[in-house]
Amino acid sequence: MSGLEGLLQGLSVAVTPQALLFALLGTVVGTLIGVLPGIGPALTIALLLPLTYGLEPELAFIMFAGIYYGAMYGGSTTSILLKTPGESGSVITAIDGNKMARRGRGAAALATAAIGSFVAGTIATLLLAFFAPWMVGVAVKLGAQDYFALMVVAFLSVSALVGSSPLRGMISMCLGLVIGLVGIDFQSGQQRLVFGQVSLLDGIDTVVLIVALFAVGEVLYVAAHQVSSHFDMLHLGKGTKWMTREDWARSWRPWLRGTGVGFPLGVIPAGGSEIPTFLSYAMERRLSKRKEEFGEGAIEGVAGPEAANNANAAGTLVPLLTLGIPTSATAAVILVAFQQYGIQPGPQLLDTQSALVWGLIASLLIANIILLALNLPLVGLWVKILEIPKPYLFAAIMTFALLGTYAVNGSTYDVALLLVLGAIGYLMRRFGFSISPMVVGAILGPLAEVQLRRALDIAGGDVLTLVSTPFTVVVYLTLAAMLVGGYLLRRRAAREGVLASAGEHEVDHADEARGQ
């Protein structure tokens, strides 16, 4: 099936009154939760998973499409007005977006982010539609060792390229792999890391893991270390200027360039949205005639990275839907959502579940339109949500985390597990281990083991089979180039000064720049 036919089929699924209602519901809830500080798209989807348990898969995924894009939109609002990027992809937006808001140009920053997200999201979703069938054509020719190579790339890129310390990222990924090992071995039925506990036989529920690491860990961290129980929020102010003609003129090229950077880097597993947003920012700065404005509130510095972030989010759906490989924490959570319905994404998915997949893709387009319509006029309303006092906000996050975990299986054992894993999430924040690699490790690890052992079984145990095809050789060489390139990029970023190597630094450095 070609992309166009697929899209038409998808639209026939997604454009029914009921489906549109769920798309609307998804976008509203997604924006609502995504706009809350400290909640990124991954956690939003994990927390909202229970809402869809009673739904048909088609409707559930239409709702997910809305939640996914809604959460992405919501994230940019928080990073601009509160300077608290909920996820690594919004870190760069926070630098100039927040500066613009401080100068009373918050409305223009929000508008360029929203329209940029719309432009990037629409183009990237169309690219996804046309790219996915082609990718399936490639994917069906791949053997187990090829899949394993791609998964190794996903593991290493998400752990070694993202975050402040590659070593700590790798450790985090390894811990995820350990979590993924717990339970009964898929092939032999032997018990691994169960220690005689019956409840561990089924493994550790990934929804519980995600909610624990992202939500409970965050609440514990803030409760233990906060210095203020209020947010330092910037107000939009009444009658502030929307985007001026000049803003438009300065924004449209960054939107398109951001899309161009974001989508391909989402398709190849290049470690989430941190790198494309950084590249987009660096590119806009180089191309700009007003380099001095960057770091001080340049609208290009919001338009480009925000477009890159959204295009990247759509790009990550290509490997997820066609290969079944999640390349970011958010994609990993969507994979879990599929697994909840007994569906395993992969090359067969477009054939066996074509209504579902194309419905999802068409819904992404629809969600984008709904979001633009919701966000531009109603931005004032979303901003109001940010005025919820911080203690109530975190209390609500905790309440929903417990609810979501308990609702999965109706078991208090899961809630106890939530607490233990939440404590680990706290420690990881406290000691600078990024969370995403662990989530990807836990979810992708078991899938990678299947491919690894399948490859070895076919080859009679010969380890060299893992590099026996031209595809694997190319993939591993590319991986090596990516790791070296990432290292060089990091070093250059550190030298340039405005942007430090890691997500966590950037905010810090922008602050220092202002302080001088």
């Binding site: 400290g38 229970p50 608290t84 070593l167 700590r168 790798m170 450790i171 390894c174 811990l175 792999l177 350990v178 090992l181 071995d185 092939q187 032999s188 032997q190 691994r192 890391l193 965050e218 609440v219 961290y221 803030v222 409760a223 270390h225 906060q226 210095v227 129980s229 947010f231 330092d232 006092p389 203690p391 109530y392 209390a395 609500a396 905790m398 309440t399 929903f400 417990l402 609810l403 308990y406 609702a407 109706g410 208090t412 809630v415 106890a416 607490l419 404590a423 924040r429 406290r430 000691f431 600078g432 281990f433 690894l452 052992r453 079984d457 009679g460 145990g461 966590e504 905010v507 220092e512």
Partner: protein
């Protein structure tokens, strides 16, 4: 937010980062446990001879190697950079009481949700967590917690067909 940082401590003698060492040793321990678990798996009968123990052995060795590398880093003074969270955290001070209250809230949920019912337990969790993060309007917080819990309970049980324990309130 530079103003909020305490005056820089005079770098005389770095305190030993006990937390980092404990983490590194714990990681080493996990690595050893995973490796042993892999070694104790029965031999495989599959075509390759690669069975359930293979990946645990690989992951165990990897984790041991990484934790040793972490120890080297820590010994050289390269410590982890705490998460920025909402930009207003200071990890040099740990507020143990709020932390304990949050943990207690979860324990209340675990112990109480089935006998007492969702609404009561969820309200308590809300109240305790809000208190831990700094809410001091005792009654205000309680009202919000109860309303939120009732709305969630009704939405889940009546609209979404997901059952939650009714408990002593019986609805």
């Amino acid at each position: 937010m530079t103003a909020e940082f305490a005056p820089a401590e005079v770098p005389q003698r770095r305190p030993i980062p006990w937390g980092e060492w404990v983490i590194a040793v714990a990681l080493l321990g996990i690595g050893v446990v995973v490796l042993l678990d892999g070694l104790h798996q029965a031999a495989s009968t599959s075509a390759s001879g690669v069975g359930a123990g293979f990946v645990p052995k690989v992951v165990g060795v990897l984790l041991i190697a990484l934790s040793l590398a972490l120890m080297v880093q820590v010994a050289r003074g390269s410590l982890g950079e705490p998460d920025e969270a909402e930009g207003d955290v200071d990890v040099r001070r740990t507020r143990w009481v709020p932390l304990a209250v949050c943990v207690a809230a979860t324990l209340v949920f675990i112990v109480g949700v089935e006998p007492l019912g969702y609404v009561i337990v969820s309200s308590i969790v809300f109240w305790l967590t809000a208190w831990a993060v700094g809410a001091r309007h005792v009654v205000h917080t309680a009202v919000i917690g109860v309303v939120l819990s009732v709305v969630v309970y009704l939405a889940f049980t009546r609209l979404l067909d997901i059952s939650l324990p009714a408990g002593v309130l019986g609805f």
